[in-house]
Symmetry: C2
Subunit: 665 residues, 2 copies
């Protein structure tokens, strides 16, 4: 069966346990087949065979029901990339990497839980925001004088005259698609209509009779998570929230693999765009069914997202933002008819409505950062504020009302669990908190989805370590003296948990019996290095910005983003993710980008503020700093508390560690 | 075969001599089948069985090539409407009315030339217009500074900055679909691009490198004829002209039957819209292939048309303009993206371009009339001007710089050859000029397509009488004393040409041997009445407007429209189509509506002028005049020259009739 591959022949692929199946062309990789068929398989590296997260198992046997004779021989031979992630036993058991194994005949593929892309449990949480209600779309109920032979005005003139006389709105225009139905709507309503006006200048919807409510949707397009907030435009209440994994994840987990997918596939951009549009439409379905309204009752949308998500949402080629000099197609905010968005499907809201896309600042500082800014308003404050938004990329803003700088740090995906041996997303089974006893070197940890710590559970079922867990872990390894300030393992440590594997030091967090993957979950020397690289990038960025701004300390650190919400800020401080700052002034604000999108939805001045601040913030291209490499190299070290981090050091020494709970109280 | 009609069964219909064929559902009329298959059959009454112009002949026999067993029995029986137009001989010969005969089995239908919808030979002719070249779309060639790490502006910012600095254009926006390709265009052009800017405020097209030319298209949508003028936007030259029959003609010849089609068919408006869009697209194909350019090089379009054509072009339901109080959906001018126009297909020009639709004045005074106004500019003149635009409807404007009135007259379709026994369009074979000797009552005439008069031809091949011919004919009947000023035939006239048929007087213009239809072509008493009704409507309208304006004479009469170009103005004056006016001040201006569309294409101030004048003109609803009926009744009489038409009378008496040529010299 390995012999002559006819490229135009199709074979059956069945995924288990989901049961999804379909015919795909011979020669496709299992990963490609999974995308076509709609099965979700992990792939942080974007299908390059570099992460080993897309392990799947080929099931043997004849599946009569589907006429499938599944067999490992129906795949291309194991290649060298796969060999790095699969030991001989794995091979015997039928394991393969989905991105490497090419399909030559009918197969049944079992996707182990650890390789499955599931619905994230981490919702982008919701804060109360304070903003004056003054939305871009306003609603008016009017009664028109009926047409007669002595009053020959057209329907539209009649409406224009009404708004000029009663509301002082002149030069109103009307959306062409709305105009098409105007006559019917006016007569069906017996000359009483509800008119929705955008920005005091365009009629974007007309309904017969008196319509009670107008709704808007704020959307935050994260690289990993899509979130939508349905708001009542009259009082700003959030009526429904929905979030889901960004469906683009199947095309690559980080920005660079998405860009690479868009660049290397002829219809790559189209598929990426359509998947995010479909995702938003499914969020629209969710929130409108929760609120009991129809999608077309949504009359306004705001969108934030990083530059790459922004470009893909707008069908703009992200190629140039992925390579020097990282030039975006457009930075300024955009108002686009929702019906124009999307390659094929568009947004299923009121067809005359606009989507307002917030401006971006620079090639790597996107509209999500602008959302954070208008939510946190550092430009209205005297104290020096450092905002850290750790998504799949790290974006920093530093300054106050006088001056604001921004930069983007290549943190790498380590904080999201990628490039970490047992790293995984923040989904059920992920170790999210770790504590190590400095004396016994014993470990306690907590997994997502269970309320108790591992020591109180019979079945722990750990599957891997997520971002907040790895931050905790490395910080605890340091505090327990297991690694030193350079990140190197102390080889003299006396505990069973410390060992070397193929010459690489590693420390066991969870024993195989406590896991659902049947292996010890460890933190390796490479994992520590990956975290050091990530935190070093952030710290170096902050240091360079401080130098430009001429300050030697920051008054306040704001951690934005879901990740910022979940990491232990003490662990982060110990590692030196950010410069020294009194811990009580380090605050997590959750999804501030989404908050900014909501504010821009509810208040039109916030849109102007966003346009203004996006231009005002000065973007620093870190790689242009002559001493960037030196600063970055130093920043990778775990800081010396007393010298560099007096606030943290004094906090740690003044706060006794509770030996019982093994955590700061 | 007449028995059980299965509605969902299809049968073969073949049209001859065109050879067009297709399968249609049983029960369809031949007319409906012709629309589906794309065969053009006349039908001025819109398929009501009222005009008898859609005669076709069913061919007998078996057509092996198509497997068709054609037979009269494969049709519904002749109904009472058909009997009015078909004598027993016709029936025997296999003649039927296409709109009445329903198809029950395979048939071959012969469409006689007289029933065929052909390409009009009457082109809407072209005048030289004088207008300052200042189009809405202007073209700029610019060189952008390349992006680098010290200049991180987005592509769009770069362009905006260039236009702000070099051309003082601020607040430029960019069409979203153009933005999508911007990065590629900029880089393909090596940072040199040509930018097309609409109205100094929106980039609607960007091309790599230096593009030499920008093109625009002016479109005149007549009820009967579509015309398009391709212009060079830099110098105003007309590079190509194309006109064709409005493809909507198959849905009904006049406005009312189109409205009725739109109202009574669920997808009526959609089909009417799509047919005019397709027609315009075929004009675009014509003019661009003549000029040797690509359709997407057209970057601007202007459109004029009467209110009904305006509404259908815009996919606006024409229902309300067809019934009192004749309220349009919108009167003001519109700028709509060409890609948004049309139910299915849109206009195949540059996708970012706008179509500018000129404003309409009232329910029955459309954008075509506004086109005439900005072309003739009566509002810039001191003398009292009467503009008569006779299309399928009659529109009048009266006044000068102080005040302008407009009205719409229900002339009926007689001037276009409908409701006239042997009436036909102005196409080959139509009698277009008639002269009758006052003494001998002998007739000379001229047919379209032949240069000589009938008396000089062996084969005349007359097929009917077109609008200008019937005006000539009735005028000549009056001058020869064959009809009196009330329009009644003088029964004592001594000539073979006068006779009665079924009690109705008629006068033979062409003997059967001179025709290609094998019948005498006559003008009947009813034909005279139809012309009297039409001319009475125009004359009454003019009289009422003069009363409102407080003038007792007009200084100048402008005949606009193709019809105005072809009628003999002396014949028209004799009949009293318009009030008395020195004949040298009666001028034909041809397609002034199309001229107006061209002016609006080439000069943006003309668009503002159009908006202004459309609001300034006062529309008179004639039917609201208390004495309208009396004035209309009087206006139907052929006027007494000396009393009512001193200028005409003196012209006629001073100009000897050339007995040889039997025409005014």
């Amino acid at each position: 069966m390995n012999g002559n591959i006819k490229k135009d022949e199709k074979v059956m692929v069945i995924f288990q346990p989901s049961g999804r199946r379909g015919l795909v062309y011979k020669g496709r990789s299992i990963r490609e087949a999974s995308i076509e068929i709609g099965e979700g398989i992990e792939g942080p590296c974007g299908g390059k065979g570099a992460c080993g997260k897309c392990r799947v198992k080929i099931l043997d046997g004849f599946f009569e029901r589907f006429g499938v004779d599944s067999n490992l021989k129906n795949l291309s031979p194991i290649n060298s990339l796969e060999k790095e992630f699969l030991n001989p036993e794995d091979e015997k058991d039928g394991f393969r990497l989905a991105c490497q194994a090419r399909i030559l005949g009918n197969i049944v593929v079992f996707v182990p839980e650890v390789s499955r892309l599931g619905k994230l449990i981490v919702r982008k949480p919701l804060r109360n925001i304070e903003v004056k209600i003054d939305p871009a779309v306003k609603k008016y109920f009017i009664k028109l004088p009926e047409a007669n032979l002595n009053d020959l005005r057209s329907d539209w003139e009649r409406i224009q005259d009404e708004f000029r006389q009663r509301y002082g709105l002149i030069d109103l225009s009307i959306d062409y698609q709305v105009l098409k139905n105007l006559q019917k709507v006016v007569r069906d309503g017996n000359w009483e209509i509800t008119v929705f006006i955008w920005n005091d200048r365009e009629v974007i919807k007309v309904e017969s009779g008196n319509v009670d409510k107008a709704y808007g949707l704020a959307i935050d397009i994260g690289t990993t998570t899509l979130a939508g907030y349905l708001c009542d435009l009259s009082d700003g209440r959030v009526l429904a929230t929905s979030s889901m994994m960004n469906p683009q994840v199947v095309f690559g987990e980080d920005i660079m693999s998405r860009i690479s997918y868009a660049v290397t596939n002829p219809d790559g951009l189209e598929r990426l765009n359509q998947s995010v549009i479909d995702g938003i439409n499914s969020i629209i379905d969710d929130v409108t069914s929760i609120a009991g309204i129809h999608p077309t009752e949504i009359v306004d949308i705001t969108v934030v997202g990083n530059t790459c998500m922004h470009h893909i949402f707008l069908c703009l080629d992200p190629k140039n933002i992925g390579r020097s000099p990282f030039t975006p197609a457009i930075k300024s905010s955009l108002n686009i008819k929702t019906r124009e968005i999307g390659f094929k499907n568009s947004l299923k809201v009121s067809p005359g409505s606009y989507v307002h896309v917030l401006p971006i600042e620079a090639g790597f500082v996107g509209a999500d950062n602008v959302g954070v800014l208008i939510s946190e308003e550092p430009y209205n404050q005297d104290s020096i504020i450092l905002i850290i938004d750790i998504g799949t990329n790290g974006e920093l803003v530093l300054g106050n009302r006088k001056r604001l700088l921004s930069c983007s740090c290549a943190t790498g995906p380590a904080f999201e669990g990628a490039q970490i041996k047992y790293g995984m997303r923040a989904s059920p089974g992920a170790i999210e908190k770790i504590e190590i006893d400095p004396e016994t070197k014993e470990v306690r940890y907590k997994v997502i989805g269970k309320d108790e710590w591992n020591t109180e559970l019979k079945e722990v079922g750990a599957m891997g370590i997520c971002g907040s867990g790895i931050i905790d872990g490395v910080s605890q390894l340091y505090l327990a003296g297991i690694i030193d300030k350079t990140g190197r393992f102390n080889k003299n440590i006396e505990t069973q948990r410390y060992r070397e594997s193929n010459g690489e030091p590693e420390f066991v967090i969870a024993w195989a019996r406590e896991t659902s993957i049947g292996k010890d979950i460890v933190i390796t020397q490479n994992d520590v290095r990956a975290i050091q690289l990530g935190k070093g990038a952030l710290y170096a960025g902050a240091k360079i910005m401080m130098r430009h701004l001429g300050v030697d300390r920051v008054d306040k650190v704001i951690l934005a983003g879901a990740f910022g919400n979940y990491i232990d800020k003490k662990s982060a401080a110990v590692l030196g993710l950010f410069p020294d700052c009194p811990l009580e002034n380090v605050i997590s604000v959750g999804n501030a980008a989404g908050d900014g999108a909501r504010m821009a939805l509810l208040n039109i001045d916030k849109r102007r503020e966003a346009d203004w601040i996006a231009r005002k913030v000065e973007y620093l291209e870190l790689t242009l700093e002559p001493d960037f490499d030196i600063i970055f190299a130093e920043a990778m070290w775990i800081p010396h508390m007393k010298d560099e981090f007096p606030s943290i050091a004094s906090f740690l020494s003044s706060t006794p560690i509770d030996k019982e709970k093994q955590s700061w109280v």
